[in-house]
Symmetry: D2
Subunit: 435 residues, 4 copies
């Protein structure tokens, strides 16, 4: 983490209304409660003795005074981007905390992501209440629906203004954060008082300045089932190969974590690493050795791995402006088949692409608790008039992070850290590079 | 069921050795204990009063006297064809029953299906004992491995003779039954005394004269998870379509049963039914109506459905001689995309092909119990010198069926029976035919 | 099964209204379609040649003509007795079939069992519609609530008359059947036209003339988890004993089936068998031998087993008039502790009583399908004016059974049949009797 | 956390042997790499500007040089105390890391906890190898077995010396840590070079200076199933009460976390809080209000809660010297029954004690990964000659903590922290204290 992180949180104005939550004073968190980002002792001492700044983060939590008057506040909630376990838990907890902790009873849910703000789509706006959301966490997916793609920022803010919404909660990933940022800029331009608070959602767990995103844990659990099946298939036939494509466009956390959890993977390929197919250290040659030695193999590949082999020319982009990835799973399947056909080794490849089955299940217990806290902290931040921020979990604590910082980078697997080294020890795959 | 079923079971010779199981006499089953195949009262009375034959089946169970001397017997076990939940339970129960009920302690497992009999593959032969198999049921797949494809019948019988195997248990589907039949003919030709007893294995549940095959139950349970995910995906976006391809080459039992169990499927397509894509009653038009009315839809398609649209010309066959099916799932996905592109309706299709995840899980409790019984009855039949038969579950009882009968037909979903009508009521899909 | 089964089904009157279901004529079932109860060929021939009666059962299914006019019909649904996986599936399918297949749109749900009919309890009556029940199957238990205990029959029929209900579906076990019988008698006495159709519900699977009740399958699956935990606990400490008490007041089907499915039980005790604690063949002595040989043991006991040791004197009865069972689980735990304390063997007993966790889960896929059919057939029977019957699954078919027959006996595990013998082979427990 | 934490780690001597792991130099961790324990910025600045010490912790990881010669090293592994999901994952990962990362091939497993060191018990010592442990993580419990209770420290060290064991890994909780401390003192007294490295195991998650222990996550998941069943039972009958007793002798983390994850609990009672039964704010009165308002209630109670009502006089202790807790679950059940009997409200209580089912399941994916890292770091510490320490996870990092610090206190739920406040918000239970 570099030094240039700007961690100041913007606010809509001073907080003058006492927080209605019946808490003893010590339970409220003051704005100047901050924790450090980097924990290394030597670094800290050096910074402080040289009177250089130490990067610190605003701690999340209920403030003693709030900005919005709950009786007058109207709140919006929207979910954007791909599905992820736990979205409904976040929606539910937002509504419950707004209603029961602050007494806010005008809460609107926008359907199908940013489309929900745009009149021409004709999607209804849903009034949300505790009664309406109390059971939604038993289902996967999002109760509000979602969509991908840009929508005109001005129209979005028009809708917010027209509906008198002063606080908008956006559940989404980096694409959503970019939209949130633009919405905030438009709000600033118009000089209206609308807070924007984000809850980071990305099944890939690839958001900068967030140690863990909700749903990741559940996704890894489900990925493990798929890998276990691939392993069963592989050992069931002579020269069986189980090939599992997992999510991970730019970051291989799911593939790596599932590899560690199952201990049955022989090759784990992620976007952060470069690998060769051909040559003595390449995947094909090492796979051949493995098959000859043990008669079966399991390969896990993140969807964004090996794009040098499959990227489209010219590149294509989806509705949200994300680069369309080439299909590395199918490519590997064909390359492997071709290679062993030439070698005369009768391999049997079982290719499994469980993505939709992984991401659309309900959250497990830990993610459920985690979602509950993320939403509560988002409400506390929003009620205190904070804006342009996301709730993050870092160094074992919930903190506020400016959205415009979060979108500067992407979190990736550190190829020299213990996490990835542990994957390499588990697979025994080595470098997969010829030089 | 037609009248021409021949239900006599062949034997290797008379049973003269008392069954060593410590059972009271009433617990043994005599060969002449038979149950009727067709239960309809009027039919029965008509047959009997006209002195016409009533088709009856030999009831399975331990015989008071057995043919083989357990102390001299050497047994072989082989698993063939595709994976299916419960194979390991069958292997385990065969070994346990042979060992503990009859005292047979020479049991060989052949690796990788029929390949295991052919010297040139070099697969090892495994000695099976209670200690070796006691935990294998906690894993899916087959402990022995399997393979597809024909192998020279003479070499197989050579191996049986060379290893002094007098009783062979074959776990497999109709392809395996055909091989079993040929092996038996070769055995008869050579005049050797080798019994062949089959345990029917087909995840499609499509074997003639068997009401239920093991693993089917577990497969339906897993298929339901996939459908639930497809439903979650479909409702998560505007005009979302969840498309799930399930197993079912010629018979749509899994697709139909999973449709009934989830109650979330709008279109269920199986091999037994013909359907049109185009036209006012065709799939595409009805799908459009559904999407406009409800904004989402779930389609389940068995792999063998709609082959008129995708069959290869000329037809291709796999190693076992099975017709290679065209990919109806991919075809439907493309056709649907194309149709709605023309219509200007921005549908989002989530295509899920969970086959390997369905078939490679361990068996659930009911299949586990069922596998245990199938194997026990197979051993009882084999020890009594019966040959050329499979163990079947019919009319709530375990019975013996000659293999050569079982391969005459394939069991399919009756499009006019309550089971399929119930599917139609659940989906509301109607005929999907224009005329 | 003895000969005295009376299998004629009563009706409220002739069916004159064409069945509104859009089925081809061959899909309807005529009343004279019957199947035989006993399948044994020799028995059948003997009966028929001697012109003696052959017991046959009316096959369930939609009749070509119905008794009630759907547009005028008002239906009631009530669930009684203990929880069982699948009750909500039955409620859901009753409502869906009444509404979509027959066009009945006045359906009332009575809360909390028979209490729901009695004004002084003040329980509300719920209007049921497809919208209201569409998701209830994702939850265990009963959406309508249940209760135990007798209620005044006259008041129940008063309520039915007052609310103009002409068809009542009762989901319950033998206690409920007895109440149903009395309600029917009172209805007959008053000369009103109210049909009573039952769906048998008993987690113990102990209803006479029913081969399988819904929820049983799911219950066995859950019981297996508990047994597996008991096994893990037992092997985790020196001389560890896992003791699991399962449901089964008079019939040990769950205990026996779970023993077969897990293959890890050393002693399975059920109500149908007598066993000694003391003496060389008694449980304690055999348990000691097992512990000395293997250092751990797993015991499964049905709640109704060994009542000779724990029955209360004088006997006590619960609100429904069922005999209160003594706590055999606790008794065994204490006896075993005492015995090994005397013997100086430091055993560690882990006692698990998972009953509420077993019975309150949602149904698995197979039970879900099964519940769907039971309810559909119940509606078909009720619409055809049949009364005083239950829907049963026997010989692989759905049939009608008069309630007054079903309550004459209780189904129990046959100690000389293959099912129990297979349990004995799996546990190796022997007779557990000294003489 | 107070200031007096002593965080220096003892070592057996200088590390002179190059670490054999094929890592690039930057991947090794130096001993002087430390992170701070308390992250608050103001506190940190105050300490540093006043030149007061800042508490810091040694970061775990492979050292560039190690103390032991792998080719000569003999290692012991023992598991003590109660079962917990993930023990087998830790054993497996210890063996794999010792064998594959360091080349240690003499690894002994002691059976049944500390008993395994004492000759008179006669428990065998098991040689552990990758082959032997490769599949053990698919089972719950501990492959090595465990036991409670003190054993003579001198005999334990005698056994270590006699078997030439120079490095002992102990998996256990605070009782085990106390034993480990004494073993280390005896080792120091004898002047022998034997390292003691602990992996903290406590399902209650109550170890001081550890943010999370393995298995906790899985336990909460399982506890949620039990609570969901209690909820289903409670809503299934009029005035139904689901009462679930969960683990938590001194710390209520499982009860609190499961309450947050399910959102269906109305009263959560933990050891850290005091509560009244009687009086207007007491449990019984509040429960009555809840029942009258909603007709059902769910209560979760940690086993150590409310001991003022049930503690034995005089106190009793188990074999390990732990205070025997009174049975608060049974006590509450009886008190509630009594209270409502007096009030004339016919409540139905379903009491569920799922402890053994919670703790003996296999670990979920996250715990599995976590166990893998804990064991790897334990091996790295042990190979570097560090002793008297445990591996801890704190502030998102793995660190070394001296055992003698860890046993000074117990981690408990902070009744004024966000975690517990969130539980109170979820249950709405209030203080449950009259004054």
């Amino acid at each position: 983490m570099t030094e240039e992180v700007s961690t100041e949180i913007e606010t809509l104005g001073p907080c003058k209304i006492p927080n209605p939550m019946p808490l003893s004073p010590s339970c409220f968190v003051e704005d100047n409660t901050r924790i450090i980002l980097r924990l290394n002792v030597d670094y800290l001492k050096a910074q402080l003795t040289q009177e250089k700044p130490v990067i610190s983060l605003e701690v999340a939590g209920p403030r003693p005074y709030i900005y919005f008057d709950p009786s007058k506040l109207k709140v919006g909630i929207v979910t954007c981007g791909g599905l992820c376990p736990g979205i409904n838990d976040v929606i539910r907890s937002l509504v419950m905390t707004l209603y029961y902790s602050y007494g806010v009873d005008r809460i609107l849910g926008f359907k199908y992501g940013l489309q929900g703000f745009i009149p021409r789509y004709g999607h209804e706006v849903i009034e949300l209440s505790p009664e309406k959301v109390k059971d939604i966490h038993s289902m996967g997916g999002t109760f509000l629906g979602t969509s991908r793609g840009h929508q005109p920022i001005e129209e979005i803010v028009d809708t917010l203004e027209r509906l008198n919404i002063n606080l908008l909660f956006m559940i989404g990933g980096d694409g959503t954060f970019r939209a949130a940022n633009k919405i905030k800029e438009e709000i600033d331009r118009r000089g209206v008082k609308i807070g924007i608070v984000c809850v980071p959602k990305t099944i890939d767990n690839d958001i900068w300045l967030v140690s863990k995103t909700f749903g990741f844990n559940t996704a890894v659990e489900m990925a493990c089932y798929a890998i276990r099946c691939a392993h069963t298939e592989a050992i069931g036939v002579p020269y069986g190969i189980g090939l599992v494509k997992l999510m991970g466009r730019h970051s291989g956390f799911i593939a790596a974590a599932a590899t560690l959890a199952t201990r049955e993977v022989n090759f784990c390929l992620i976007p952060e690493m470069d690998f060769d197919l051909e040559g003595p250290q390449g995947l094909l040659c090492k796979l051949e050795k493995r098959l000859l030695a043990r008669k079966h193999a399991v390969i896990v590949v993140a969807e964004g791995a090996g794009q040098k082999y499959v990227q489209k020319d010219p590149p294509e982009y989806d509705a949200s402006g994300n680069l369309k990835l080439g299909d590395i799973g199918k490519f590997l399947k064909e390359k492997i088949e071709e290679y062993f056909k030439q070698k005369g080794l009768p391999v049997v490849i079982r290719y499994i692409d469980p993505s939709y089955i992984i991401r659309s299940v309900p959250a497990n217990a830990e993610d459920r608790i985690f979602c509950g806290f993320l939403a509560q902290y988002a409400v506390h931040a929003g009620m205190a008039g904070k804006t342009g921020l996301m709730i993050s979990y870092l160094n074992d604590q919930f903190v506020h992070i400016p959205i415009k910082e979060a979108i500067k980078k992407r979190k990736q697997v550190n190829l020299y850290g213990r996490f990835w080294l542990s994957v390499l020890e588990s697979t025994g795959q080595g470098t997969l590079k010829n030089s």
